[in-house]
């Protein structure tokens, strides 16, 4: 299986269960992966790069232990996500009584997923105040998720295994949504469509031609192909018309759909998982 720094741990585990032991052997923090509850909580949210940071290992070390299990490592630029050196102004200006401190370490040790409670507590945080998550590693998936909703965050390293991550609710922050609102359907110009298409290399593209199929086979064929679509893959579809009933059907799933209407009876589509 081809992997890169952005591959989620859960995908590795699904491909080969021995990867759990392999990764856990790399460092003490990564031993947490052997805990099934913690693995369930973290594995689908954490990428290899993030796991490396948590375990303070390098991607090379990961590659070494994973190669014998059949994983082929592909070089892809990793995002540098380090703890910022200087605390931001909003944190400086925040008095301690305006911060809700939540130590999640006991939760995790007991085997519970603290996410629901974290989100509930964050909802209660007033504008201009913050929630501080105390944990033994940087909760990168949480940071990513909340930053999507324009929440400001900052992680402070207190000790080698103690991190304080502050989540600040600015005055005009958007209401929190548990999930991004379903599928994004965009109708592109030829140029834009081609640019988006060019972002994928040929190994990532799965092509489907449904033009010769009789109704309702085009829709059915596309729907059957979607569950097998990996996170980094894209479905490129040749169609006779915009399949509106299909779009409605996947409207509440996390896909991005690009449509290009070349002609009255010539439509191209790109479908991929939302980032």
């Amino acid at each position: 299986m081809r992997i890169n720094a952005k591959t989620k741990i859960s995908e590795l585990v699904r491909y080969n269960k021995d990867s759990i032991e392999a990764i856990a052997s790399l460092s003490k923090p990564l031993r947490k992966l052997k805990n099934p509850v913690l693995r369930k909580v973290m594995a689908s949210r954490v990428t290899l790069a993030e796991a490396a940071k948590i375990g303070k290992s390098s991607m090379e070390e990961f590659a070494v232990v994973l190669k014998p299990l059949g994983f082929i490592f592909e070089e892809k630029k990793t995002e540098a996500q380090q703890t910022k050196e200087i605390p931001p102004t909003w944190l400086d200006n925040l008095s301690k009584d305006k911060i809700d401190f939540f130590d999640v370490r006991s939760h995790i040790e007991e085997g519970n997923d603290p996410l629901k409670e974290i989100m509930q507590r964050f909802k209660k945080v007033k504008n201009g105040e913050a929630l501080c998550i105390i944990n033994s590693f940087i909760p990168t998936p949480l940071v990513r998720r909340l930053e999507k909703n324009n929440v400001l965050s900052y992680t402070e390293k207190i000790e080698s295994e103690v991190f304080y991550t502050y989540f600040f609710k600015a005055e005009e922050s958007k209401p929190l949504t548990e999930k991004q609102e379903g599928a994004h359907v965009i109708k592109n110009s030829k140029e834009d469509f081609e640019n988006i298409f060019a972002q994928f290399d040929s190994s990532q593209i799965k092509t489907l031609d449904v033009r010769h199929l009789e109704m309702p086979m085009p829709m059915q064929t596309i729907l059957k192909a979607l569950p097998d679509l990996a996170n980094n893959e894209v479905l490129y579809i040749h169609h006779k018309r915009i399949p509106i009933y299909l779009l409605e059907e996947i409207a509440d799933r996390d896909f991005t759909v690009h449509l290009l209407q070349l002609d009255e009876d010539n439509v191209k589509m790109l479908i991929y998982h939302k980032k």
Binding site: K174, E181, I186, K187, M215, M217, Q220, I244, Y245, D265
Partner: protein, 431 residues
Amino acid sequence: MNPAIGNTPKEYAVVPFYATAAVVFFIFTLLMFIAAPQFAAHYFHGKTLALVHTAALGWATMIIFGAAYQLLPVIFERNLYSSILALASYFFLLAGSILLIFSFWYFFLSWGMISGGISVIVAVLLYCFNVFKTADFKKNKLNIQNYFIISSALYLLITCTIGLLLVINLAYPFFNISHLEILKLHAHLGIVGWFLQLITGISVRLVPMFLLSKSNKSHLLSLSFIFQNVGILGFTLDRYFTGSPARSTLYLILVGVGIFYWLFYLRDTYKNRLKRKVEVQMKFAFISFGFLIASLFVALLILNFSDIQWSTLYGTFIFLGWISAIILGKTFKTLPFIIWNTRYKTLHGKMKLPMPKDLYIEQWIHYQYKLFVAAMLLLTIGIVSNILLIIKAGLFLWILIATLYIINIFKILFHKKQLTDGTSNNRSTLP
């Protein structure tokens, strides 16, 4: 360049029908309320005939024409033969309906009835012409599903022709058979020949599409076609030539068997579906089938007992319980798509497109459904026990249903192009 493979027809060939039908439906519920006492009286009364034809022509046939012009290209995979003729049929149907309904309501004005009848027939001829020219009669292309659509068009023509003869007979009697007997034939040719077969034909193409499903049991459809047609034609010809009601139950059973074969086909489609969610539009479809089957039983009652409330109940089940329910559900699976298509056809940008579902208020369809169930319950009880107050309560709920429906329809029709950036800020962009 590929030959035309079934592109959406022009908006003006479809939208006027939907808009007008919604308005007529609303007026219809008001008229029903005003004429509530009619629900306790015999059906051969000016106001009752006016109500029936408001529902049959101004509401049901009107919207079916619109839906048919939109869907014929999809069903036959060819362009609609003529959008202009479709629009012309709209004007003739509208004029004819208004004249007929008006004339019936005000005690049979002969000039109004006859000119109205002629106008309706012209509309129907235009419709039939469009259907035949759009249909692909090449042997391998014409499958059993499409037979229903073509035969229903013919039945509509026959029904309306007999209708015209009936109104002429009212003004200048020439029938040597009882007027009421011919009226029964006219009504059933319309109900079984036009409505039932049209609904069968369209549903067996659309339901698989909505449910993301497929059925291979087309033999069920062939059987359905045979039984439905033998039933209605047998009934018509037998009654006309022998005047005897003796075999009516037999024909009722034949039609009933035809209906069941159709429903079994749909059930097979349902079982193979990929779509898991049961939408409210489907609930309307299910309950409409319930009322259709119930109508069969009420028809049995009519054949055996002559109490007039069974006839009223029969008409109520057919026009309100069955036909209106289907329309109330299916409108929102057809109209939003054509509006969406035409509004966003040439539009493109980097922003997120709204979905057809965003063009109307889905929640209101749920309210519509609950009101519908309550209304039909009240009407049934009221008609059977002949209590006017309960009938009026049920009819009042129908006014509420029509209000929700018409507002939702116009929300769709007046939808303005917009693209959103996925946040709550709506920004309108135009190419």
